[in-house]
Assembly symmetry: C2
Homo-oligomer: 298 residues x 2
């Protein structure tokens, strides 16, 4: 579902929030490196777009109206997410010059690293981080070959020659759309789950392998797929708008569950928990930046 065509630009919201924080259009303009008239006109444009006055302008500065305060609050949520993307990107881009080379699995890179890096980059503004995203096998491979300093994985694997530290937890949960029959009892026997075709990632994904292993341990067969999709987003969207369950990382659907777009279904006796761990080569002293990052996370 695309955003409305007249949705305000990120830059305008950013500018407006700065006006609210700094108390004047001029100062906000300076903070953003644009001229005062330009800022003034952009704020006016924003007010026209939203159809409401956001600022009370006076000779001593500008204060937000009631509506302005509320809109600024909403805008800050967007900007917070934007800063996380920027933090992740700068790590991505620093691939060549990074002083701390991180390699992380998809789930961690998508849902946890941006927050960690955003925070870390505030504490260490001069240090660049390089980020590579890969599957667990590749993560371990990179560390063993000295191509990365610090790795993050979510699967327990053979870790010869690597030290590790647990930095969080994740588990697979079963979710359905609110209209799905399972949504009302909010519980379903594992046999029924195993017998129901699911929306899934393609074969080979870690999530799918973990589910298959758990079902096998219970003496049940392979899960079958009603739909195989190549990205977590796609799976999520298919479950929200469709009529099939999926089994997916809790991290990936937390926001949707809180917002009520998805319902988590309890499946007694099916438990697929994974510890999220940082790993690094044994023997080498962990670079000081890496220690600092781990301290930050913990």
């Amino acid at each position: 579902m695309p955003l409305p065509a007249s949705f305000p630009e990120l830059a305008s919201l950013d500018l407006f929030v700065s006006v609210v924080e700094l108390g004047s259009v001029s100062q906000a303009a300076a903070a953003h490196g644009v001229s005062q008239p330009s800022a003034s006109s952009r704020i006016k444009h924003l007010e026209r777009q939203l159809g409401m006055r956001l600022l009370d302008r006076g000779p001593t500065g500008s204060l937000p109206t009631d509506a302005g305060v509320v809109v600024a609050g909403w805008a800050e949520t967007i900007l917070r997410a934007a800063h996380e993307l920027a933090a992740g990107l700068s790590a991505f881009r620093a691939a060549q010059v990074g002083r701390l080379r991180i390699v992380a699995s998809f789930t961690i890179a998508e849902y946890l690293l941006p927050q960690w890096l955003d925070r870390f980059s505030r504490d260490h503004p001069r240090d660049s981080i390089a980020l590579e995203v890969a599957n667990s096998t590749t993560v371990i491979d990179r560390l063993r070959h000295g191509a990365a300093d610090l790795g993050f994985i979510e699967t327990p694997a053979e870790l010869d020659g690597l030290d590790e530290a647990i930095v969080g937890n994740d588990e697979l949960v079963t979710v359905v759309a609110p209209s799905h029959p399972w949504a009302t009892p909010r519980t379903v026997p594992v046999e029924a789950l195993a017998a129901t075709p699911l929306v899934m990632r393609e074969a080979g994904s870690g999530t799918r392998a973990a589910l298959a292993a758990a079902l096998r341990d219970l003496g049940l067969g392979e899960p079958s797929a009603v739909l195989e999709l190549g990205s977590t987003s796609a799976v999520r969207a298919a479950v929200v708008h469709g009529n099939s369950p999926t089994v997916i990382s809790r991290l990936a659907v937390d926001a949707e569950v809180v917002a009520g777009q998805l319902v988590e279904v309890d499946v007694p006796s099916l438990s697929v928990a994974r510890e999220l761990r940082a790993v690094w080569p044994t023997g080498t002293t962990l670079p000081s930046l890496a220690s600092a990052l781990l301290d930050d996370i913990g």
Copy 2:
């Protein structure tokens, strides 16, 4: 802290996410109502801005690269927040034609209503909602005079003639910047808190009144202000970048605390909890849309 100057536009991220979801640039272009070359050029521009290839283009469509999958995940977080703003705005704007008139206090309108409304508008796409933001007294006043159908407040008040339902909880918490002396023990006696000048909202705000009442109950004096600011955002920013504590709604600082920008400090024997409640006029049947919204929330 403004966003980097070259940060991608919201519209481009939106378009890119659509490409990932729909599997082709052409289809995404159609979904956004622009021509295919325009979409193609915007995606290319996005790739140049980010300095990485996001899509593998082929004659059968386009699939995201590894980097593309990760960036799409980050972008979705931003877009989710943007949709919430859009939902709040459309309620704001519908002031004249709304079929369900809501009046809510600041905190609830800022931090909870957008999620509720975003979800509600998906379930009831044809129904418009009007939203007014006001303090608790005004909320009650509007309901008594029939100027609104449903209200949300966070203070227990005299509610003669109004029915109510509890829809959530909030409490005041004490927070400081990570560099503040209180951040390390993470606890401070209430006497020390009462004796320390705080960053505060202006006199008259509900938060400030609740804190003053709690301290009075403990036989302590009025809290003093090192800085008085007119919006929650401003208070938050002052605490993050300054050296003074504040006592503030947990809802308002949850994201900062999780991200490590702020540290929550335990203050034994100081507890200021508030129930968030929906209120509506007694006797009148609650409009069906209002019931539906309350069901959604619960």
